[in-house]
Subunit: 436 residues, 2 copies
């Protein structure tokens, strides 16, 4: 037996933060400690809960005697630190402190892992301790473990993820109930799926942080958050959704990470997905992550990507894993061990576009438009003309083009040239087509 | 650091079996050994491949010098034994031998784990070694790891799985292309999705073995294969598929494991699934496993459940995990540590039925039928009458009833009584409705 024997004393668990997720995790640690102990093969003990203000948090589920505002001391005495405060500081400093004092760390902090993952991985490795963060990406959906462990003998080529429930809810309502963006957003806010200030969700910032984490795991490399190309859903219109539907697509906000010839790449943008694609069937606030790997082929992981209980489920699974290692030896895969792979510029991505144009209603227009595409080496898969009310208010008709696959830079140049053509009254939208 | 230091020498890997999966695994061990070593944090070395007949397997990818028909000796010198022979013996004896000589084991052998899982878990635990078997359930889909590790801090209530690609292909073709069972089966055979003797698939034996494994993992208990209630798809007709579609359902062969008040239960049978359910969108030979857990809520894992490369992906992921433990210490979760939970009889399951009757076309028939259901405490959710050619050949009309949820025993008694009614010419079928 190479593993260390079970320690005689219970493993000491410190939880930092007693918000929605923290409360669920604390509840489980208090009420299910027997089951958790059986699964770990060693007893666990909640030794304290770090909160900002002990008086204010007095009515939480946790016994008042365990509450402390001295997080640093709490961390120093723990075997496992569970960071559920969110934000960069003081979470980052406390986690580094935890590793220094010999604790393993479980966190749900997506912003922190996306921004400071490599620093934290290295600190974990130096300490010979675990850093688990399943809950940082897509809540209870075990995509981090799948990429870190299950697919560790395979080569991931591409991941397409619906990783933000708010934007999926909004786009799904626009698709299935015919709402416009403003209606769908206000409905999402009424139902609690969107914040009063929805910027982080609708502008794709939340999804971009997850894309950075997924890229690092999928390709065993580093993906700075700043290198993730990002576009939100605010410009997506009901007309875009309708045009996509007519062509057999639904619009989803996708986080896409790809291993291309030019390097690895991560981007977030609204995307047309074929209705037959498994991601097209992901409705409401659900999340799903679609993985394409050399040997495994196509895999999809689906579930609730947010909420107190689903996030707590992921955190508790990580606590069991970290505790098993503390009790029996062992270490989570070291993410810092891998070499840096070049990051390809966003302009080097290859994709397809659905371009919606308002054009003059006269002969020769399609020839002019087709020539502009051909000049940039972009070929056309399908073209349709529509007489829409919106186009008529601009004194033209709508022309919808779906291109074949081409370089993003060439597609961008094509769209810019189309906007300059005298036959083109307006470029209504240009949306990427993915998952084909 | 509680974990053992990295060993100085490469980890010795022995592969038993050089069939479709074995060849893929051997290829990866030979050509990707550098990448695998980086992910493990230690070098690995393929030390031999056990085959029945060295001369016959000479043209395989593996160097002839590594081929041996002496599997026992090969096992005795290995750090990790990868069992890809299939069948119960000699696989079982060789795996027990591997644990005795201090090796960890990775296997794709579903029949063996379903029949002898507890014995093997115990042998692994006694030896302080790992037993990994991701590939035994649903190929590359990491459902074993999800249940064993990711959900280890949650309570799984129910799992519904499409775990047999052959039957999903057949039922999907009947649904989408209107084929009858014989046509769909022969198409599946032509395309290589079904064996010349399709019994193990179409009679649900393959799915039952997977159900036994899933139940054991989901509920941390033992589920003998003999306790899995099993019904195949051979009795499903085109008329059943059409009637289901009219009511908003598709028919899938589901492996269902449930934690009920009467105990845990595992069963395999054709099931009506609502078209809006994520499992309804699983087409062709794909597999998917839908998990309902207390905290995580609904999760689904989707992908290719068979084939050389997808199965090899799962095996390689397990090899990396087992090798990491050999190199750095640590141990996979011990499945033998859990107590036995009572197993509920199949008759105690609660489900709903779609009952298709051919009844006499005269007044009072519905009253007679409704009374029979009410007498057994079974209430009706929907009832439709159809004038079908098939019913007409029996001199009646078709009556399709969907019941509310009731005890299986009461539903069985209801169907038996319906068959005896003078108004009922024939019970055409009675299929369970699941996923609602």
């Amino acid at each position: 037996m190479t593993h260390a024997p079970v320690t005689g004393r219970p493993l000491k668990i410190a939880v930092l933060g007693a918000g929605v997720v923290g409360t669920e995790v604390i509840r489980a640690l208090v009420t299910d400690s027997h089951d958790l102990g059986a699964r770990i093969g060693a007893a666990v003990e909640l030794v304290g809960v770090g909160v900002r203000d002990v008086a204010a948090d007095r009515d939480a589920i946790v016994p008042t005697s365990l509450l402390t505002s001295n997080a640093a001391d709490l961390v120093a005495g723990a075997d496992i630190v569970v960071e559920l405060m969110g934000g960069i500081e003081p979470a980052r400093t406390l986690i580094l402190h935890a590793f220094e004092t010999g604790a393993s760390v479980v966190t749900a902090n997506k912003a922190l892992i996306a921004a400071h993952g490599p620093e934290l991985y290295e600190a974990a490795e130096r300490a010979g301790r675990d850093l688990y963060f399943e809950a940082a990406v897509a809540g209870a959906i075990p995509v981090v473990r799948a990429l870190r462990e299950s697919l560790s003998g395979d080569h991931v080529r591409r991941v397409l993820g619906i990783v933000n429930g708010t934007t999926n809810y909004i786009l799904d309502q626009m698709t299935t109930d015919g709402l416009d963006m403003a209606q769908a957003l206000s409905q999402a806010q009424e139902l609690g799926y969107a914040e009063a200030d929805p910027t982080a969700d609708v502008e794709g910032m939340d999804a971009a942080a997850k894309a950075a984490i997924i890229a690092a795991l999928a390709f065993h490399t580093r993906m700075p958050l700043a290198a993730v190309a990002r576009e939100g859903i605010t410009t997506v219109t009901k007309e875009d959704v309708d045009a996509a539907r007519d062509a057999g697509y639904v619009i989803k906000l996708l986080a896409i990470v790809e291993d291309t010839e030019a390097g690895v790449q991560a981007r977030v943008h609204p995307s047309l997905v074929p209705v037959g694609h498994p991601l097209a069937g992901v409705h409401g606030a659900f999340n799903a992550v679609f993985v394409e790997a050399d040997d495994a082929g196509e895999l999809m992981f689906y579930g609730r990507g947010a909420g107190g209980a689903p996030t707590a489920s992921a955190v508790l699974g990580d606590i069991v894993s970290a505790a098993r290692h503390r009790a029996h030896g062992g270490l989570a895969p070291a993410e810092s061990a891998y070499a840096a792979i070049p990051i390809a510029a966003a302009a080097e991505a290859h994709t397809r576009l659905q371009i919606r144009l308002v054009v003059a209603d006269r002969p020769g227009v399609l020839a002019q438009v087709s020539t502009a595409l051909a000049d940039h080496g972009v070929s056309i898969e399908a073209v349709r003309q529509h007489d829409t009310p919106a186009a008529r208010t601009h004194g033209g008709v709508e022309l919808i083009i779906i291109t074949h696959r081409a370089r993003q830079a060439d597609l961008d140049a094509t769209v810019a040239e189309l906007a300059e053509l005298d036959a083109v009254i307006k470029v209504a939208s240009a949306l990427r087509v993915e998952g084909v």
